[in-house]
Structures are given as C-alpha cells and as structure tokens.
Amino acid sequence: MPLTLCLYLILALSRILSPSEVISQEMKSETYTIQGGNFNMSLGTIYSENFRLTDLVGNSQSQIFTAKGFFAQSGFLNSAASDSFSFSTSPPAISFAKPQSSKMQEKSLRLTVSNSNLLGYSITTYQNQPLTTSAGTEIPDTYCSLAKKKICSSDKAAAWTSKDIYGFGYRVESPSALPDFKNPAYFRSFASKSKNGEPEKIISSFTRKLTESSEIVLRLNFSPLQPPGIYNNVIHFTALPGI
C-alpha cells in the first residue's frame, strides 16, 4: 500500500511540475479606442489598429509631437539626459618578447567603462587578423585543447592548461564577464575579421551608475615549429551603452 501511495504521489507531482508555456496578455486604457472589425488576434494577444498618440507616448510628448512634428529625448523618462558614456583602454599597444617555444607569455590590458544612469553596458571584441608577419605567416588562434569536445573558439571558452597547445588567445576577468570566463583557466580565441568572423560579446552588465574595470589577459604560446619573425595584429573593442 505505501508503495502504491508513493508511486501515485511521484506521478502526480511530476505532472504538476512539468513547466508549461503560457502566453497571455491584457491591454486596457482609459483613453484607448477599440472599434469593431479592427481586431487582430494572435497567440492570445489583442490589439487595435485604431490608437491615439497619447496612448503610445503619453500626453505631454504627444502635444509636442503634434505641435513640432518631432519629439526627442536623450533617455527614457529623460533619466539619461545630459549623461555621458565613457570607455578607456590601456595600454594601446602590447609587445611580446621574442618567440620562445614552450614558454607561455601572458600580457594584460585594462578596459574601463563608466555608464552614468544607463541600463548597463556591453563590450564586444574581434581582431583584424591572426598575428601575422609582413610575409603573411600566421600564428594560429588557439584551440585550447586537442580533445574535440574541449576545444575553444571565438564564442566559447575552454580550459587552456597544456603548454603543448600553441597559438594566441585571451580570457576576461571582470565582474560582468560572460559566464564561460568564470573559470580562470578558460580562454577563447579572437574572431578574425579577415576570416569573416563576427564580433563576440565578452562583457555584459545591466547595472546603472557603474564605473567598472575589466582585465583582458592575452596569452601567446609559440610553437617550436613557428618561423621566427615579427608578428602583428590589431584587436578591437566596442563598448555600447545599455538600452
């Protein structure tokens, strides 16, 4: 009897616990005008093509818009009006020592963002090309690991612990770094514009009134087979205000 009771309880709980997607909405307004024949309905949503400007933007804004033909604001509810957004990168150049095989080199640079009253910020990055000599010889972007399931890429970090894994990569140390950088041994490779790579987001925050510094750790590990030479590239960071 207790066995049957337990099984019944487990079954009933698992039925109740299975999450279900529910889409619903209710729209109403004191000044909203809904006329017959103009309803559109999809996924349980109701809206009307007949609307008043005041319903969309509020009273004062609609008055300005009607009078001037435009309405401008520098932030929602003017909360960000006259605010500024600042972004700094230091240093502007990072030099690596002459190629030494089996010796990883790490250099770091600091990114600082100040976002005033904006809803956070985000930073994306890419490189113009892999580290390349004027003759076109490249240092490959790191794969972090030889195991197929443990490799890193420009959009996924993975552990880079072996000295036998060569190439160029980076990691991010920041309170707002994306979750795959939480492990200090995890690295990514840069997306290369020369290889049609897209900029990748590395930092994202939704906090207001923030002045936040992040560290980008660049790691270079020369292969013993890598031809000696002077290798160069440009890495690029884009900071966007949070909206």
Binding site: L56, S90, F96, T124, H236
Partner: protein, 302 residues
C-alpha cells in the same frame, strides 16, 4: 648663506620625490548623449548636438553611422547609408579620420531630415567613434583600437506607430518552498515601434508580498527579450526565501510613458515537496526494514 642651503636642499628633494598625477598611456573617449530617442514626422528636420571628449592621449578617430540590431553593431555599406542622416563637424562632413588631441572636445551635429516619401517605421542606428591605432613597432605586437557609440532610436511616423507586446511566461505551477522563484518571463515586440516596459512585477501570497520594478529595457521591433527586474538599483532575476501556499505573480506595465497597459497574472503553489518526498521515502524504507526484521524474527521462532 650656508644656513639656508640645507633647508632649501631638503625642500628641493621633497618636491622632487613627491608623487605626481601621471596620466598613463591609454585610449579614452567619452560621448554625450549616449542615446538619442527621436520620433519624427516625414518632411520635418531636427539637429542634435553630440559631444566627444578625448580623455586619453592624442588619437586619430573615424566617425561613422552603423546599423544597430539585437546582435550589436553592423557596418553599413556606403550605398546603403541613410541619406537623411548626416553628421558634420563645424559644417564639414566627417568622412575622413580626425586627429583629436588630449582633453579636446568635439561638438558634432547630427541632422535628421527624413523626406516626405520615406517608409514610416523604426530605424535603429549608432553614431560610432573608432580610434585608429598608430603603426606597429618593429617587434611582435598587438595594437588596440576601440569604438564607442551613441545609439540612435528613430521612429518615423506621421501619427505614431502601433505598439504591441506579448508576454511569454514560463512560471511553474508548483515550486519547492526552499527553492528560488526564477522569473522566466519574456517580452515579444510584435508591433511596429520599439517600446520600454514601464511597470513592475508584484508577488502576493500568505508569507510574502513583494514588488520588483521592471528594468525599462528597449524591446525593438520583432525582438524577444527576457524581462529583468531591479531592486535598489541592482538587477535581480529571482526571489530567494521560504514560500508556502498559493501565490499570485502579477506582471503589470505600460508601454513607455503611454497608457497602453499590459497585464498578466499567474498563480503558483509553493510547498516543501522535496522534503515531503524525502520524509515519505524514509518512512517507506523504515517500514520495509522493520517488516523484514519482523519476518526474520518470526522465522527464527518457528
């Protein structure tokens, strides 16, 4: 004379070794305003001033207008540029790189002049400022370049564009009393203009009553975005604490500063089901062991 020499020398060395404010090598730009939200009728024109301040060392910058999408910025081919969006500096176009000195402030003008026959819809763009790195030194070197952007959310319409929001809520019907309640609520913009949700999520129940302000994030046309909440200026995505009984979770907001109200109510139950299950299982195991022991004892007696 010798009497004064010693104090003067001490003063000289003190001044010499005093720490000074040194600006390290850096690229640092500041832009204002960081966002421009504009609703404009076709045929009208607006001029908006932007300022760019160089807080780092002297640098060359390139000014551009990029497309803003939910994935970030995308470069626009010259032939696809919007002709009614023009940036100028002192009346001159900004198509060539500019040298901006340390602490220099540039005042730029953005002219927005949509023609009468323009398609009435939302246009999302960004005014970008990109630094151009100096040539590499003769050694293996990585140069750094940065872009800072001011976002332009422009709605072109003669009478306003209809706004429409859908709530996709994935709140479970039963949660464990000791688990956090995760707000898995997504908003979908299926209207013709971007909006910001302006309201709150309210929780009503026997043991808890709480209100969380919805972060007024921009939801672009056709975008789906998870609702984020804030409490004391910090973003939150869950309620932590002990909940017991029947609860009502009410999502209630208006679109922007308008009057279109969007409301969604979900009811869920919080019971300590994990603990209950554990107690039941323990009881069952205990009964089973006791029964087995009794059976063993009975066999011995026989």
């Amino acid at each position: 004379m010798k009497r004064f020499l010693f104090p003067i020398l001490i003063l000289f060395f003190t001044v010499l070794i005093m720490p000074r404010d040194v600006k390290g090598q850096s690229i640092a730009l500041s832009v204002s305003p960081p966002i421009l939200e504009l609703m404009i009728q076709p045929g009208k024109n607006v001029n908006q001033e932007f300022s760019l301040t160089n807080l780092g060392e002297d640098t060359f910058i390139r000014i551009n207008i990029a497309e803003l999408s939910t994935d970030g910025l995308e470069e626009i081919a010259p032939e696809n540029r919007l002709p009614w969006l023009e940036v100028s500096l002192d009346g001159n176009p900004t198509d060539k790189p500019l040298l901006v000195r340390q602490d220099e402030k540039l005042k730029l003008n953005l002219r927005i002049n949509p023609g009468q026959n323009i398609e009435q819809k939302d246009y999302y763009r960004a005014l970008t400022f990109t630094t151009i790195p100096y040539p590499h030194d003769p050694q293996t070197q990585v140069k750094v370049s940065q872009t800072i952007a001011s976002l332009l959310l422009i709605g072109i319409s003669s009478q306003g564009l209809p706004k429409k929001a859908e709530i996709i809520s994935k709140i479970p019907r039963l949660i464990d009393s000791f688990d956090s309640l995760i707000f898995d609520i997504t908003l979908r913009n299926s209207g013709h203009a971007y909006f910001r949700p302006n309201g709150s999520i309210n929780l009503y129940g026997p043991l808890a009553k709480a209100q969380y302000r919805i972060l007024p994030q921009v939801i672009m046309v056709n975008q789906e975005r998870k609702l984020l909440l804030e409490k004391k200026n910090q973003p939150v995505d869950r309620i932590k604490g002990f909940l017991l009984g029947r609860y009502r979770l009410e999502t209630d907001f208006v679109l922007d500063e308008g009057t279109i109200q969007v409301k969604d109510v979900k009811t869920f139950y919080a019971v300590p089901w994990k603990a209950t299950l554990l107690i039941l299982l323990s009881w069952f195991v205990f009964r089973f062991i006791r029964k087995a022991r009794n059976k063993k004892k009975g066999n011995r007696k026989i």
